[in-house]
Symmetry: C2
DNA sequence: TTGAAACAATACTTTTTTGTACGGATTTTA
DNA sequence: TAAAATCCGTACAAAAAAGTATTGTTTCAA
């Protein structure tokens, strides 16, 4: 379980836009300069973010990129999904199975699937509730928010237990 | 953030061994058969698990693999780490930076690093406290344990807040 | 003692990911 | 209107991951 390059660098570029004054844009060369990446590589991320409609663009000289919504209205999950192109996480593996068998071997009782599901469920919730606005605040301020997310997650799991 | 093939399939093979009666071994062909994977591929996983000393082997005809410890004494983190060969997670990215800059551009205030750190911290805790024994129990029984892990995690984060 | 079945290890092929290059379209500005 | 700077898009190259093949070593059992 690891972070892809697209996720890492794409998110950084998005954060650059988030820290921009309202109405301003930032060009690919500018972003590349600030993040120490190549212009071409940055352009690749931005195209993905644009296609996901998270970013708007201004063409021509003096053009550039800006977020299409307020930083606080864009979850990190949206950004990461845009960059990842919908990746198989957790139990999605069961479908994209590489083995010879027609489907996953474990039908009745599979405890690996729910394990990945629970883990990726937490990750999804975490990234859904964190926004770009959270990432342009000083480091210390993040902990409060993450703490409350984890706390809620426990509550939800307890509810699920009761229902089942 | 996604699960690698080695993690997924390697873990499945480990679970096969975990569900084995004490003292028994399972051969690579057997495991391959049960999981619908090629024998060669299974051998690759098992070699990694053996090198991490999570698995002991018996050579020769009638040989095979078995866990070197009790399933309850082997955390999923150990298994996943053995399969992953120590992967850069979260803020490790700062070191293995691909950009032109000598180091990560963000020195003073970086809120992306602590974001990944918090997320991967939870993942680590989750996988550290789940064991192979947990994965050979029926699906439903897992929730109790995961719930308490998440609960503890919140507690730890709150403590960290207090200390800082 | 010899053959079969298993682990051990490495090398190889294929696929995916990562990162670059380049030609075309758009808009500003001189 | 023409040059310059930008976005747009695809094609390409390099590296890593995924998966296969092969050869060697060990052990059991006939």
């Amino acid at each position: 379980m690891n972070v892809t390059a697209l996720e890492e660098y794409g998110l950084r570029c998005a954060v650059q836009l988030a820290s921009l004054p309202e109405g301003k844009t930032l060009s690919a060369p500018d972003i590349a300069e600030r993040e120490g990446l190549s212009i071409e590589y940055v352009s690749k991320f931005m195209l993905l973010l644009k296609r996901a409609e998270l970013v708007r663009t201004v063409r021509g000289i003096k053009g550039g990129f800006a977020l299409s919504r307020q930083p606080a209205e864009i979850s990190l999950k949206e950004v990461l999904d845009a960059l990842n192109g919908r990746k198989k996480a957790g139990s999605e593996f069961c479908k994209s199975f590489t083995g010879k068998s027609e489907a996953c071997v474990r039908f009745g009782s599979c405890s690996i699937r729910p394990f990945w599901d629970l883990l990726s469920g937490y990750v999804e919730e975490f990234t859904s509730r964190m926004t770009l606005a959270d990432l342009i605040r000083p480091e210390e301020e993040i902990r409060d928010k993450t703490s409350s997310i984890a706390s809620d997650h426990v509550g939800q799991m307890r509810n699920r237990e009761l229902r089942s």
